[in-house]
Each structure stands twice: as C-alpha cells, then as structure tokens.
C-alpha cells in the first residue's frame, strides 16, 4: 500500500471540519483494523469495540496529525495501542510477539480469529465472499485478469498495462467495469 493521495485529501477534509470524510476513511480501513486488533483482543465482539474506540481516538487525534507518517501507519499505531491498553486495563497479557507497525498491513489480513464470529454475521461474510467469487467468475476474461492483477497481485495500473499490453486508461476502465459488475451483485447484500 503506497501512500495515498486519497488518504491525504480525506484527512485534509476531516481536519477542515468535514466529518463525513472520516466515514470514507472508516469504510476503507475497517476490515484491516479489526483484523489487526483481533490479533490482540481475542473476543470478536471486543475486537469490534476496540476497533471502534481506535477510530474514535483517531478522529480526535487528527486535530494533531501533521502527516509526519502515512495516515494508515498512524492509524495502525493507534489501533495497536488501543488494543494493548484494553488488554492492560483488563489485566491480560499482551501477545508474546510484537507486531511491527510496518508489517501491520500484511498481518491485518491474517486474523486467526475469523472463526469467532456470530453465525449470522459469519453467514453474511461467507455470502459476500461467495457472491464476489461468483461475480468474478462471470466476468469477461480481460476484466477478470485486470481486477485480479490489481487486487491479488497488488500491481499498479502501469504494471497491469504492461502485462496486458494495453493503455493505462484501458486498465482503469477494465478495473472499474469489473468492480461495477461485482458491485451489482454485492449491493443487495450490503445495503
């Protein structure tokens, strides 16, 4: 994950009094942060509470955020500290291992606690996962390859353009059309 013109712009808007811009940041990072927190806080419901608390602290902290680090690095640090504080206040041991903030993004996706979800939410998560997988399978090949290279391989548009032998504008269009096609099937589940 590079840094992040979009984050900078959203942060700037929040700092200039536009609360709704913070909602966009929450939507962007909520899964990453809760996955990260859940490595410290074993109970899923508490992970969600700690994640919420971390976002609230982040909002308040944005008053003093000067962009000395990337927003997401700063946010991850807040989340880790919030989780550790929670464990200390509950007199529980913090994990034996330390999570480096730089590695947090990578680790965030490897939550060991995904099995602790409530059945209803777990079912919905599975449904979302299956819906997305089904929608991707139905995509025309050029769209499927473009979005796979982007989301799974983490390639930039330029790299995808080189790989697929097409202009960057075409890559942007293919990824967008892929997302739109997936979104059409996903929207009923999430709205």
């Amino acid at each position: 994950m590079g840094n992040k013109i979009s984050d900078e712009e959203l942060v700037r808007r929040v700092q200039s009094g536009d609360k709704a811009a913070f909602d966009a940041l929450v939507r962007k990072y909520q899964h990453k942060i809760v996955n990260l927190v859940s490595r410290y806080v074993r109970e899923p419901s508490m992970s969600l509470d700690v994640t919420q608390e971390a976002f609230i602290k982040a909002y308040r902290g944005l008053a003093n955020f000067r962009g000395e680090s990337a927003f997401y690095t700063w946010l991850y640090r807040i989340a880790i500290n919030t989780a550790k504080n929670y464990l200390v206040s509950n007199s529980r041991r913090t994990p034996d291992y330390e999570i480096d903030v730089q590695d947090a993004e990578q680790l965030a996706g490897e939550s060991a606690l995904k099995e602790y979800a409530t059945p209803e939410r777990e079912l919905l998560t599975e449904e979302i996962q299956n819906t997305v997988a089904g929608a991707i399978a139905d995509l025309p090949e050029d769209l499927r390859v473009a979005i796979t290279l982007r989301e799974l391989e983490g390639m930039s548009y330029e790299e995808i353009a080189q790989t697929m032998g097409c202009p960057i504008g075409t890559v942007r269009s293919r990824i967008f059309r892929a997302r739109e096609a997936i979104d059409r099937t996903l929207r009923p589940l999430l709205d």
Binding site: S6, Q15, S16, D23, L62, A117, E122, I136, E180, L186
Partner: protein
C-alpha cells in the same frame, strides 16, 4: 472518451487518481452518502477477493463509528498547521538557502576586495579582450602556457585572468542575488526586498 466520476472513484480506491482528481473526489465522497457506500463496497470487493473480510463485521460498522462521533465537534485545524511531508522541511530549506546565499555573498565580497585592482599600478585591459581571456581560461594548462608565451604578455595574462575572474564572480553573484530574490518572494522570506543586479559599467 468521457471517463465517469465512478471510474475515477475506482481509480482512487487503487490510489491511481491524480492529486487534483483525488481532491475533487474526496469532496464528492464527503458530500454524498451514496458515493461513500459505493467507495465502501469497492473496498469490500478487494477484501473479499483477498479473503480478508473480518467474519463478524457488521455491515453498518462505519455508521456506528460515525454515530459515536455525533457529539464530537468538527475539527478545525489551521491550514498552516497541516503540512505534507515535503512542506514541513520547506522553512528549513529556505533558511538553509538564505544562509548559503549570505555566506556566498560575504565570500564573494571579500574576494572582490582582495582582488580589487591596484590603484598604484592599474592593470589596463580592454573590454574587448575579455571573451578571449575567458576562452583561454578554459584551456588545458600546457595550451595556456603556449598562449601566454606566444602573446609575450606574461604580465597581461594574469591581469586579464583577474578581470575574467571578476566578471565570472560578478555573474555568479548576480545569479545568487536573483535566485535569492526569487526564493524569498515564493516563500515569504523578506518578500518585498528588491534585489538589484549589476553589470559592468553600471
């Protein structure tokens, strides 16, 4: 071909939107719950593809967070306090450049004073000879020696060289002053100081 707002939003999800577009879209996102929902779903698609969805995450989690922030005052951070990484070092860079210019001016002035023509034994040099001298100045040492001997002007060459050096120094000093003036006016550092360059004979 027209690129839709949604397509740019998709590019912004991948951080592939340029700064101007990102700024415009950030405003769109802040102003439209529908666009934020789309933005959220685009991110969910990526998380789902990577298998990173947190099982148990309520679909309205962000609404809960924002509801918890209802009582919070909107932030009002002064623009001057919000600096990007590059911006933060600009004052230090400006001070550094200004200090360098000051040192360069001092050294230049000192050198000019020590190399000022001797009033007792003035060196006579015509303006027209200067380009030749400048060219000579760039020649390798042995060629320079040949030119000096060939011109049978062992006294004149050093004098001309001194003149050329002085001209070079003047030109350099002028460029320092102009650069300093440009930098100062861009960064509010003594913005109204007028810098005057000078040339020979003026």
């Amino acid at each position: 071909m027209n690129v839709s707002k949604e397509e740019f939003l998709s590019a912004m999800v991948d951080d592939e939107a340029d700064a101007f577009t990102a700024r415009r879209l950030a405003a769109e996102l802040a102003g439209s719950a529908e666009e934020r929902a789309r933005w959220g779903r685009y991110h969910v698609i990526g998380e789902a593809m990577r298998g990173d969805l947190f099982k148990g995450m309520p679909v309205d989690f962000s609404d809960r967070v924002m509801a918890a922030l209802d009582d919070e005052e909107p932030l009002q951070v002064p623009i001057s306090a919000v600096r990007s990484k590059g911006m933060r070092y600009r004052p230090a860079i400006g001070i550094g450049v200004a200090a360098s210019v000051a040192v360069a001016v001092l050294v230049g002035v000192q050198t000019m004073v020590t190399q000022a023509p001797d009033p007792v034994n003035p060196v006579v040099a015509t303006v027209g000879s200067a380009p030749e001298v400048l060219a000579v100045d760039r020649l390798p040492p042995q060629t320079l020696a040949q030119v000096a001997v060939g011109a049978s002007a062992t006294e004149a060459v050093p004098s001309d060289r001194r003149l050329a050096e002085q001209r070079q120094m003047d030109a350099r000093l002028n460029s320092y002053i102009v650069n300093h003036a440009e930098h100062a006016s861009q960064h509010g550092l003594i913005p109204y100081v007028r810098a005057v360059g000078y040339e020979d004979g003026q």
